[in-house]
Symmetry: D2
Subunit: 312 residues, 4 copies
């Protein structure tokens, strides 16, 4: 399958990374207790019905935005382009494809493009945000998972191959993919722009839905510590899967938690660099991931396979 | 219940700690790959059908002894007394109670007493062993879980109160116990001599059977690392439960693995000191351990509740 | 030298462990910022000019007591005996030796004996304290070094052999000792009662002075984290030596900090068990500790060798 | 100073990252013991007088190349470009600047350009290498520092501003710089292409010399573990500075070791992402880095400031 050997080394669109998500939550106070008091994210600002959060190393104004909403939902998945000039070709690209794309004003961000990809993911592109001091050395503010930065998002949708084709067309590189045993059609694709293996991941399942947003944390210690903190803060039930190890794409140590609205957050502390022209996409089969004595901890919660956040 | 407030500060028998187990295994080579190559235990000696293992900090000749046997079984749970003179009162004590007790010769150990407690645990007491260098600084030999030393054993038996009474009578202190909701009869008792909460634990279940032997390891890192190592060495299926946190007795971070014969090994990296007269036994109910949002990771494998090693 | 092979397995005095220190500090608010806000100790109570601190796993009311004083000083080194009855033989022992010993009332402690050992260490013995909940599971209160419990103290004095002889006579066991190259007279002795290698250590230097009080912490992570926290809290200069590794007695990973009055606190996260009759004292020479390519990080601050806290 | 606010978001040359170094060593066997047996690097191949090493996550054939040589020296600092076509504009660029640049054959690499920058750094550019399996999941091969990948190099030279200007001209971004107190001329500049803060660093000192090559490692644990491993392997003297924390550029936890030829290797386990247009260069003064109570562990070895590897 040609798409799966695609190299994509001369991207036409200067997207740099997955950068933020906007989530609808039913109880802002409860969500703040989860994200700030427990997980350890930094609250940059609270304005009206919106809370802006960032990780400890992030200079950008926000990587997770929580908006009060009547229903749990994902409002936007945000991506960065290198410069504001890089937004216009993207607008044309979506227009030409007959996909929704419109300029919008978003607080604390530069010029912003709302657009919808072919599988229904509600996207948002901008080149810049207001900045705040990185808190890398503010050790007395570290707690919980000590979340450092947003790394990637995963989307559920039925049309994984269409998603792959569209994102390759926007200059993403395919780092890894999973095929069901006996087939060569990917049921899961891992795409990136920033040089580690994931910026956006698509998995075959009813959708479009946001499966999870992934944040980095410093050490194995923090993967266990965030679980303990969850228990201390009355969020013990939020620990859904892990701590464990991905024996497939990303190879990371991880833990998944569910926020009070069911939005899923992954913490992990290790990804590999994939920048070079010879770094071809890595193929995994279902069997690679779960069978036999060379993997451990593969008894995932049913909810992890089935549940995700619908787009607004 | 009087037993549960027992203080036991003037023991009549100078037992100092749980010290070793003797396990029957069906394939010595496979067991060596599990315990030495994977877990990281040190092989002190191999003699005929017997392998002697110790932890990285242990000066004693062995803390786990593996003997070739047609069936998976536990042959002995070993305990130390302070001096050889402390063995004779123990012999009399078992004799008076009408329990089996006999002097035996055991290689690499001083004078040794085999005895059977009232619930059928096959015990072995001695005051000394041959020594070998502690390998605390032999960092180039550390791998897997970096197991440091044997800490405690847990026994399944139906008669938990009888076990409690007998071990209190031998000078053990009760650190913790669990009662089923709505009752005051302990279904699980945690007893110690060495000043951290566990040397021997009894849990209500058909028996006598050895539920697990627990080894200490240095850090959270090693709890995750031993799982990864298990996968690398083809023992990924051996990871049964965890890494997680005990929200009841001991409060430790832990992981449980099953060896090739099904013998269960726990690794943990944190226990508390319980030495003072005011350290009364801590009471837990079933609900404390598993219910509500103040605990996490409580979905234990069925096998962890049900399976254990019969005594030979 | 006979003292150095001494076994001491039948102690006449039922001392159980080093338990607390009482320190004179010039600025209570500053000390609280250091010990509570930065190091992460728990403040049990503040009463008049006194602050009572304990570690996260400690049920006892206090392990470090800070009293406002015009000069930096050590007021007492505290030890536990098993029961109140065990205090009377100690009183007689000090009386017979012509050493100061007197009953005193100490808040939050049971009957308490003040006594002075032959090298001038101001001691305090008691069997019990008020208790407070162990905070082992209060993860949302963990920060800094996450200090778990007091482990041992080190005393500077010129008469190390006299100290050794006296403490052996009180039932302490010698775990380790250091001799200068070419001699057999110990210049440093490591004594314990609780079964890990140190409760009280004596080192040859002008004294009596308190060299340090040592607290346990969970992981290597915390040894580095407490340094980072020190910097965040304006106490970066307090990091005196380490993080590093002791290649002699104790073998521990450690870091030493100086509090605002110059009192030295050690954090470490690994000691070995030494309970068995065959665990003979381990002999180190100066050369073992510092020379050659088999040690690292041995460039200690001059202050670490020379400075210590005088007794009041 | 204009250079210091330079954004450089439309690079003319598609360099992607610092990728490898070639070092002259006097004793290949000794170097292998240091890099492979102790540090934990993977030996991809040994061919004649050359050893090829890579990190555990690296798919590229080599990131450190050791060549037998009569003198300790640095032969090349290697960088990657995106495609082979990206090499030709670089050749022209060096030619136009009157700087040495020549095509060479290098085993296991694609078409390779040797070139010398204006301060004398011996560079090597290529677009591809042979690949080998990433060993991310080969946990039974992890030891020492568990080095994951090469991250950056630091060069000593007198002409830091010239270096800055030249590398900005090749499309590097300036992430951080240090000025001496009271001046605005940078004495140290930190440049990157890959989106974390460092690919190549220039510091004012006689040169050109290679100050260090930096490798990533997973956790704080490994920073202490590699020191312990050094001691176990007879390389304890190789630990030069740390483990500690950089309170300036990079903010990383680190430790520096010297290999048997004096080549300096840094391990660190945390850098921040710097990809966005609003991420302006961060200015540090000497005082920021070393003075006052908000930093710790700043007593660096004299050798760390003065010594470095000359280019061949």
């Amino acid at each position: 399958m040609d798409l799966l050997s695609h190299y994509n080394i001369k991207p036409g669109f200067n997207i740099t990374r997955a950068s933020h998500v906007v989530l609808g939550v039913k109880d802002l106070d409860l969500s703040r207790r989860f994200y700030v008091d427990m997980l350890g994210m930094v609250m940059t600002a609270e304005e009206g019905d919106t809370i802006y959060l960032r990780g400890l190393e992030e200079a950008c104004h926000h990587s997770i935005v929580l908006k009060h909403a009547p229903q749990s939902s994902c409002l936007r998945v945000g991506m960065r382009v290198q410069t504001e000039d890089d937004l216009d070709p993207l607008k044309s690209h979506f227009d030409k494809a007959g996909l929704p794309a419109a300029w919008v004003d978003v607080p604390h961000q530069g010029r912003t493009l709302h657009a919808t990809d072919p599988v229904g993911t509600q996207l948002e592109f901008c080149a810049s945000m207001e900045t705040r001091p990185r808190l890398v050395l503010a050790f007395n503010q570290f707690h919980g998972a000590s979340p450092m930065r947003l790394d990637h998002v995963q989307i559920f949708c039925p049309q994984v191959v269409e998603a792959l084709q569209f994102y390759l067309g926007m200059g993403f590189r395919l780092s890894e993919y999973i095929v069901s045993d006996g087939t060569e059609t990917p049921r899961m694709v891992f795409l990136h722009r920033k040089g580690n293996p994931h910026d956006i991941v698509f998995a075959r399942s009813p959708g479009p839905r946001l499966h999870h947003v992934a944040l980095t944390c410093p050490e194995s210690f923090h993967l266990l510590n965030v679980c303990d903190m969850a228990a201390s803060c009355g969020f013990g039930n939020s620990v859904e899967y892990g701590p464990g190890r991905h024996f497939g794409p990303g190879y990371a140590r991880f833990v998944y938690l569910r926020d009070p609205d069911g939005h899923r957050v992954e913490f992990f502390n290790s990804h590999y660099q994939t920048l070079d022209i010879e770094d071809a996409p890595i193929r995994f089969t279902d069997s690679d991931l779960v069978a036999g004595p060379n993997v451990w901890g593969v008894n995932r919660a049913e909810s992890w396979f089935a549940e995700a956040t619908p787009f607004a």
